[in-house]
């Protein structure tokens, strides 16, 4: 029997077995013992040819429905230059592993070095790692970093305006340990900083906020860094990196840690994954940042080369004393972001951010004119805004009517928070990729429903 991806012929097998002094493959598995050896094959289907698999997958794929997405909440449909897929699909990038052997991994190491540099440039921070799993992972690693950086601390303050799923991941992070997440409440859609100082005690290690926040609103962190630093607390800002083309960077707010997800920089929607978390910190935290880091150095001939470095922080050296268990990064996704940013340049990034801003405001402005919906809070936003419906029936009808036009009109906040108070909130995201026609289609359908 010939199996896909296994090159052995009958002749190979018998020659190899005799070379190790055996008669059958079964003898190699005698060590499993009779009790454990399966007598039957596992109950999954038989193998299929390439063509059969493709047909089966085509049929499965047809049950996914595409629409014009005005959906965001941590995953956005931005324009991606064709270079991204073409170059990130080069086989040696795809089929290599972690660049442990620097000499034969220079291309990958250099790409990561360029990624780190770009993340530093965009966030304004000093040091970035080679990437983390996703934005929620970056947030929990930031929380770990905070607690590890302050003696006897155990608590991390988190703004209630952070993405509900990231809050969920942080809650899991604290579960069953002596660490805790404490919520800093919001006021009119943004974090309420008036009670910040009162929350900062000996046990508190830092604050994590998000801007644009869970409602898409931009937050003002004036004086926050000073207040936190006075109490030996660290300040982490989570943001969509594309928004940093126009909004104040974490460094400009005085943050110690910048975190987020680079999905908006070159990664497709992909049902939410793979994505790519990023983390950048000030120089004083360089030896505490988790994950892989690439550095430039030289060889014996003085030639510049790149290598994994500062490894004494990591689990393979520190084992149970490591403050993070992360062992890999999202190298290929980070590569996609690097190619994306290389293609766009700073000018392109600003253009994408500005166009998203303009188109989102265009849609928001016109939707706000309709009866039955309001744009609550009247706060600055970037490419996503909260629309509140007067009643649930209208909201359902709105979503359905737009669906009929092939439009995914927005994300129901309650689908993320599962809370009754959010039932009437729809988050609408508009990127530079939405054409004028798509915007007008949305508005026309909306006007029909909401008249």
């Amino acid at each position: 029997m010939v199996y896909p991806y296994i090159p052995h012929t009958d002749e190979d097998r018998s020659m190899m077995l005799s070379a190790i002094g055996l008669q059958s493959l079964d003898q190699l598995f005698e060590v499993l013992g009779e009790e454990l050896q399966l007598s039957d094959s596992v109950p999954i289907s038989h193998g299929r040819t390439e063509d059969e698999v493709q047909r089966m997958i085509d049929s499965i794929a047809s049950r996914n429905v595409r629409g014009i997405p005005f959906l965001g909440c941590g995953c956005y449909d931005h324009i991606i230059p064709s270079t991204v897929k073409a170059l990130s699909s080069l086989p040696s990038f795809v089929t290599a592993y972690t660049p442990y052997q620097a000499e034969m991994s220079q291309g990958l190491l250099q790409a990561i070095y360029e990624f780190q540099s770009m993340i530093c440039e965009i966030t304004g921070m000093d040091v970035a790692n080679a990437s983390l799993y996703d934005g929620s992972h970056a947030a929990s690693e930031a929380a770990s970093l905070m607690v590890a950086s302050k003696r006897k601390s155990s608590t991390v303050l988190v703004s209630s305006t952070i993405h509900p799923f990231i809050l969920a991941v942080l809650t899991t992070w604290a579960k069953g340990t002596d660490r805790a997440i404490r919520i800093l409440q919001e006021k009119e859609g943004v974090v309420d900083l008036s009670s910040l100082e009162a929350e900062l005690d000996e046990t508190c290690a830092g604050l994590i906020v998000q801007s644009p926040n869970r409602y898409g609103l931009l937050e003002d962190y004036n004086t926050v860094a000073d207040t936190l630093h006075t109490h030996a607390c660290l300040f982490a800002i989570l943001s969509d990196p594309l928004s940093l083309a126009i909004q104040k960077s974490p460094a400009e707010w005085g943050a110690d840690i910048a975190i987020g997800d680079t999905q908006s920089l070159g990664l497709p929607l992909a049902f939410g994954g793979p994505s790519c978390g990023y983390m950048a910190v000030t120089e004083s935290l360089m030896r505490r940042i988790p994950g892989r880091i690439v550095g430039a150095t030289t060889d014996a001939k003085g030639r510049r080369g790149f290598t994994l470095t500062l490894q004494a922080r990591e689990q393979h050296i520190k084992r149970e004393r490591a403050t993070s268990n992360v062992c890999s990064n999202q190298a290929l996704a980070a590569l996609m972001t690097t190619i994306h940013l290389s293609s766009l340049g700073w000018g392109g990034m600003v253009e994408a951010a500005n166009q998203s801003y303009a188109k989102a405001h265009y849609l928001a402005y016109h939707l706000a004119q309709l009866p039955g919906v309001t744009l609550i809070w009247d706060k600055p936003f970037w490419c996503e805004f909260p629309l509140v419906f007067s009643d649930a029936k209208r909201m359902r009808k709105f979503l359905q009517e737009l669906r009929n036009e092939g439009i995914f009109a927005g994300v129901r906040l309650a689908a993320l928070t599962r809370q009754a108070k959010d039932e009437l909130v729809l988050l609408v995201a508009v990127t530079e990729k939405r054409s004028r026609e798509e915007l007008e289609l949305y508005l026309a359908a909306a006007r029909r429903v909401m008249k």
């Binding site: 003696r151 030896r287 490894q311 004494a312 922080r313 050296i317 520190k318 004393r321």
Partner: protein, 127 residues
């Protein structure tokens, strides 16, 4: 054979302590620096903080290893050896001439409970 200084006290985690009046100097032993290899970084403790005995207070790193320094004597951090910031290799060159940090208001009992040179030598031989 590791070098051991007669006038110091030692922990089983390979730290040495030297008392000079109000001050207790803490460093790592020749055995420890040898095990680590070329030292590339020393994390110095924050000044003014009080550390109990056995508490992790600092880290000494080589390229492929990281060794936690467990504070051998309870006390308050008075000074950290800033010289090590740019030149951690000084520990490799002479680990007894280059302490990591200095404690004050230390617990003398903790000091007396440490091994003397003979005891530490016997301990090393037992490893």
């Amino acid at each position: 054979m590791s070098k051991i200084m007669q006038d110091l006290r030692y922990s089983k985690d390979h730290e040495w302590v030297r008392i000079e009046g109000e001050k207790a100097y803490v460093g790592i032993t020749d055995h420890a620096q040898h095990e680590l290899g070329e030292i590339v970084f020393v994390e110095l403790p924050p000044l003014g903080e009080r550390y109990s005995k056995g508490e992790e207070i600092s880290t000494v790193e080589s390229v492929k290893a990281a060794s936690a320094i467990l504070n051998p004597v309870e006390g308050k951090v008075l000074e950290a050896n800033e010289e090590l910031d740019g030149s951690p290799e000084l520990i490799n060159e002479d680990c007894y001439a280059h302490h990591l940090y200095v404690l004050t208001d230390y617990k003398l009992d903790d000091y007396h409970a440490l091994l003397d040179a003979k005891g530490y030598e016997a301990f090393l031989n037992s490893l």
